[in-house]
């Protein structure tokens, strides 16, 4: 995959927005990869957690906002617990979801779920899924 890096992207307000919403300092990451090594969801991900941080540092907005990974992460906080630099990776991924959700681009299409699908899961599943994946 070819990726174009540019000063313009790095200085884009997307980077600031992700840092602000997540409350994290992206440049603290030195790419040790421990987050991805412990993540239980990597087999489903297209961009791994450490790569998400690197992409975010570089302002690769389109790649990140189209990534499947941001909807695969279930905020289990294993990455946060293990990051040697104290970065809350789950919060960064939450910020990326928020960038889309705040434009009312819901990921979970509640209307498309059948009443059987909705009725077969407990309230705790339905509520948490809507909290994380809808605006």
């Amino acid at each position: 995959m070819r990726i174009n890096i540019s000063r313009k992207k790095i200085k884009d307000n997307f980077v600031t927005k992700v840092e602000e919403i997540s409350g994290q300092n992206l440049l603290a990451c030195y790419q040790c990869g421990k987050c991805s090594a412990g993540c239980p969801a990597v087999s489903e991900m297209d961009i791994l957690p450490n790569q998400i941080i690197r992409y975010a540092q570089l302002g690769l907005k389109d790649e990140l906002l189209q990534a499947k990974s941001i909807w695969i992460c279930a905020s289990c906080f294993t990455c946060n617990a293990r990051c040697p630099k104290g970065i809350n990776i789950a919060e960064v991924i939450e910020a990326l979801r928020q960038v889309l959700l705040r434009k009312r681009e819901d990921h979970l299409k509640v209307k498309k779920l059948t009443s059987e699908e909705k009725g077969s899961v407990p309230p705790i599943a339905m509520i948490s899924s809507m909290r994380k994946f809808t605006s």
């Binding site: 279930a74 779920l113 699908e117 899961v121 407990p122 705790i124």
Partner: protein, 292 residues
């Protein structure tokens, strides 16, 4: 020792077995709890966005209900409720400015929240106040020869400053199981995420996790797996249906709440255990061990 009890949404339906077995166990242990009047949903997940205060309102409202019932401690059973209530509580205690904003937003509440409620999980109450020694003494029907793997999942132990035990290697459930006379089984997937709410529209991911988590427990000799979260319970129990379809070599294993096995040891009657809510029936193994 009266304590407010916050049940949360799922304890009143899918996880009624969790609630009933707890209430019976606490009665046998002589602990009085009082369900909060007018409690509302905690939101199930703590909002991770720094600028999002509105989603902290629901948990704070519950903490106000605690104060209104002349209590300053609230106990939860559900790991997700525990995590959300405790995290929001810590968040506003550390940030009085946002607490003030939230209080102003809830101007119709009779009192302001002052950050003075303690959020407890039942496990903390059992370990620190009742003590496992007392529980062992009261276990008239010890869980002899039952090999139990304890599954913690995420929110009981993470993040580090919120979790109730070691973040990487918690042992509180194993210690409780030992006190109840069971054989605790350790396994490496005990804090691995079950994929949580992905179960709504991506049950195939949950089937993968369930397969790996439960196969790991079985390989260590576990006969049942205990949990403390209604969402983990749903994924690990009900999703075994999808797991068998995807992995024909998978063998079903019963999933129980830790309070159900505690209730058995404390000699609660079977009507408090609500086995009708399970997908994989735990009765055959419990009968084989002479426990029910």
């Amino acid at each position: 020792m009266k304590i407010s009890y916050y049940p949360g949404c799922t304890l009143k339906n899918n996880a009624k077995n969790f609630e009933d077995s707890t209430l019976c166990s606490l009665k046998h242990l002589g602990v009085e709890i009082e369900e909060l009047p007018r409690w509302n949903c905690c939101g199930t997940v703590f909002s991770l966005a720094t600028d999002d205060l509105i989603h902290h309102v629901a948990p704070i409202r519950n903490l106000i209900r605690v104060k209104e019932s002349n209590s300053d401690r609230v106990m939860t059973l559900c790991a997700m409720c525990y995590n959300t209530l405790k995290r929001v509580n810590e968040r506003v205690k550390a940030d009085p400015e946002s607490l003030e904003k939230i209080n102003k937003f809830m101007y119709r509440e009779k009192i302001d929240y002052a950050g003075d409620v303690k959020v407890l999980h039942l496990l903390e109450l059992l370990k620190d106040e009742i003590t496992f020694e007392t529980i062992a003494e009261k276990a008239v029907n010890p869980l002899k020869n039952l090999k139990i793997a304890s599954y913690y999942g995420c929110l009981l132990v993470r993040p580090k400053d919120i979790g109730l035990d070691d973040v990487e290697n918690p042992t509180i459930l194993e210690n409780l199981m030992a006190a109840l006379g069971a054989i605790p089984i350790d396994f490496p997937y005990k804090t691995e995420c079950c994929a949580a709410y992905q179960t709504v529209d991506k049950p195939e991911i949950v089937a993968d996790r369930t397969y790996h988590i439960l196969s790991s427990a079985q390989s260590q000799g576990a006969e049942v797996v205990i949990v403390s979260c209604p969402l983990c319970a749903f994924n690990l129990d009900q999703r075994q249906k999808e797991t068998v379809q995807k992995y024909p070599d998978f063998k079903n294993i019963p999933i129980l709440y830790f309070t159900q096995v505690m209730a058995i040891a404390l000699d609660c009657s079977e009507k408090n255990l609500r086995f009708d809510l399970h997908y994989v029936d735990p009765r055959p193994i419990l009968k084989e061990k002479g426990l029910i």
